[in-house]
């Protein structure tokens, strides 16, 4: 049977050259860190594009930026625009108005609370508190979860069992309940709360997911290569495993911030925290003054509640959108 001769394609040009002995081989001039930075920026841009495909993520991001703006403007307003005595969120009082809580007016866009303080100012100050608390808790969680996850995956055995059992226990325990108990026994302030939330989150569910991710990294070829090249355990964990876990860790930061803000609000609302001012505290004040169910004084409850919901939702949405980018399983099928 006759064969049709097909022209065979040219082999691709080699992208490296074995130098002749004695010849001059060109050396890469740019420093390593610059190259790393460039690669990082490039992948960051692609990731952001992927992220931006999802309108939900952008929506969340927008809300976060809005609140961040509010938080940043507040000190400026306090110093330059507003009279400290009247508008301070904790100790201010407007004595020109006889009856507090006062409804929204030109001077007080969201009215005043039962103690005579400007609600808008409180809202803006609360934003600062929310962000700081959230980010602090998130950092603690991520640090612990990543470390524990990496170590569990790498060493396995008894270390793994202990941490996973601990994580199971923590997942099963209702957080609010535990925090209520802690607030009853100890004097829980802002930083304490952030650290406790961070600890609970760090040793909890996030660890399990990060550990499974670490397991998939552990078996990859470059880990084997690193080991053959003489890399010690610490080196491999720090230089190879953890950097690959960072996107997932960053994702969990988002969810931790959501939880942290919500938890603080709930606990403040119960009056169990030692905090100067926060959104939850605004609602607590309202309750103590007896105006909680009084809908005619809507500005006492509505803005704070809305702010909590929106910021929590924003971080959650951003987290979900990031999930699509970071988690290769979920990418657009």
């Amino acid at each position: 049977m006759a064969e049709i001769a097909k022209p065979s394609p040219q082999p691709p040009a080699p992208d490296f050259i074995i130098p002749e002995p004695g010849s001059h081989v060109p050396v890469i001039e740019t420093p390593l860190w610059k190259i790393r930075l460039r690669l990082f920026l490039r992948s960051a841009r692609t990731n952001f594009q992927l992220f931006a495909e999802n309108p939900i993520g952008l929506f969340g991001l927008g809300i976060i930026l809005f609140f961040a703006l509010m938080a940043l403007i507040h000190p400026y307003l306090m110093d330059n625009v507003w009279d400290r005595n009247i508008y301070d969120p904790v100790i201010g009082i407007d004595q020109s108005i006889p009856y507090h809580p006062a409804p929204p007016s030109a001077d007080h866009w969201l009215g005043t609370d039962p103690l005579g303080r400007d609600v808008l100012s409180q809202l803006m100050f609360g934003t600062r508190a929310a962000f700081v608390l959230g980010i602090l808790a998130a950092i603690v969680t991520v640090t612990i979860a990543t470390t524990v996850g990496a170590l569990s995956a790498y060493y396995g055995g008894i270390v793994d069992t202990i941490f996973m059992r601990l994580a199971d226990l923590i997942i099963m325990t209702p957080t609010v309940t535990i925090l209520i108990v802690m607030a009853a026994l100890f004097n829980v302030g802002f930083v304490h709360l952030a650290i406790i939330i961070g600890l609970l989150g760090g040793f909890g569910g996030a660890t399990i997911i990060i550990k499974s991710q670490a397991l998939t990294i552990k078996v990859r070829a470059y880990i084997e290569a690193a080991r053959v090249a003489g890399g010690g355990d610490v080196h491999i964990i720090l230089r190879h495993i953890i950097p690959n876990l960072l996107p997932l860790s960053f994702l969990y930061m988002m969810f931790t911030v959501t939880t942290a803000i919500a938890l603080e609000a709930v606990l403040s609302f119960f009056g169990l925290l030692n905090i100067r001012m926060s959104w939850g505290l605004m609602i607590y004040t309202t309750q103590r003054a007896g105006y909680l169910l009084d809908m005619s004084k809507w500005w006492l409850v509505f803005p704070a509640g809305l702010a909590i919901t929106m910021l929590c939702a924003a971080f959650y949405l951003v987290g979900r959108a990031m999930d699509e980018v970071v988690n290769p399983r979920l990418r657009k099928r």
């Binding site: 049977m1 006759a2 064969e3 049709i4 097909k6």
Partner: protein
Amino acid sequence: MAELSTNQNDILLKVENLTMHYTTRAGEVSAVDNVSFELRRGESMGLVGESGCGKTSVATTLLRLLPENAVIKSGHIYLDGLDLVDLNEEKMRQVRWKKISMVFQAAMNALNPVYKVGDQIIEALENHNEVKTNQEARRRVEDLFRLVGLDPAMIDRYPHEYSGGMRQRAVIAMALACHPDVIVADEPTTALDVIVQDNLLREMIELQKQLNMSMIYISHDIAVIAEVSDRIGVMYAGRLVEWGASDQVFKRPLHPYTYGLMSAFPSIVGPKRELTTLPGEPPDLLNPPTGCRFHPRCPYATESCAREAPPLRDMGNGHFVACEHPMEVSLEL
């Protein structure tokens, strides 16, 4: 279109100019193009071709099990005189399994893991009102099990408790449950090891003769097809390129593609020769070649082959081929 046979009386299934397309993001895929064949009562037919040639598509189209993005563009499927293409879904559901049933590829997955095997067969029986009482259903299933060589004690077991061969038999039993006129078997033995394959094939031939059923046997394995079928249809790129009695097609292939398929097999007897393989790959069905779809790979292609698609012509004895330059070889040993 040329008549495929002269005796109209015992023709059970008549497929006429069946064309089916998938709509994908990239465009329309011409999966089945102008396919026509006939099947008589008690006859078995094999459909053979490479992966992606459209044979499974034909099977799913016969039962109208198409996904949402697929549509039958034109053609008719006459089953016992009834055109299946025009039927509404309600009526089609009554036809499915009762008049035409299917044994799926990799049948292990065709059984729902959370229900007992017997129950799944009873479900089919009850759906088509084949049985009135539970005892009747039970007896029917026991008979079916014995027919395919399964121990009736396994009726109340779950699919994961069966071995691969047993699952295959169970699926065959299920396909036989409502005494259909036609069974379409899509690569029923591919997933099994050779010895089990052999046994199962023999039993299927037995069953077919015993029950005087018509069977359409789909495979890419010509050896298997030749053993089981009375007639063979060869498919390429969505089209039927050759059709005829089994030993005719096998020993005197007319289409160059069929010849290529046949000669890819070494023969135990006869002189040693170099194995011929077909160069190139099956075409992309998004943009199929013009004219005869095989012409880019065909050693005998001429200009006219690229222009017009040759129709199926009867070369005598009911052996049809769709080619302008049919071969004249004999593979008899």
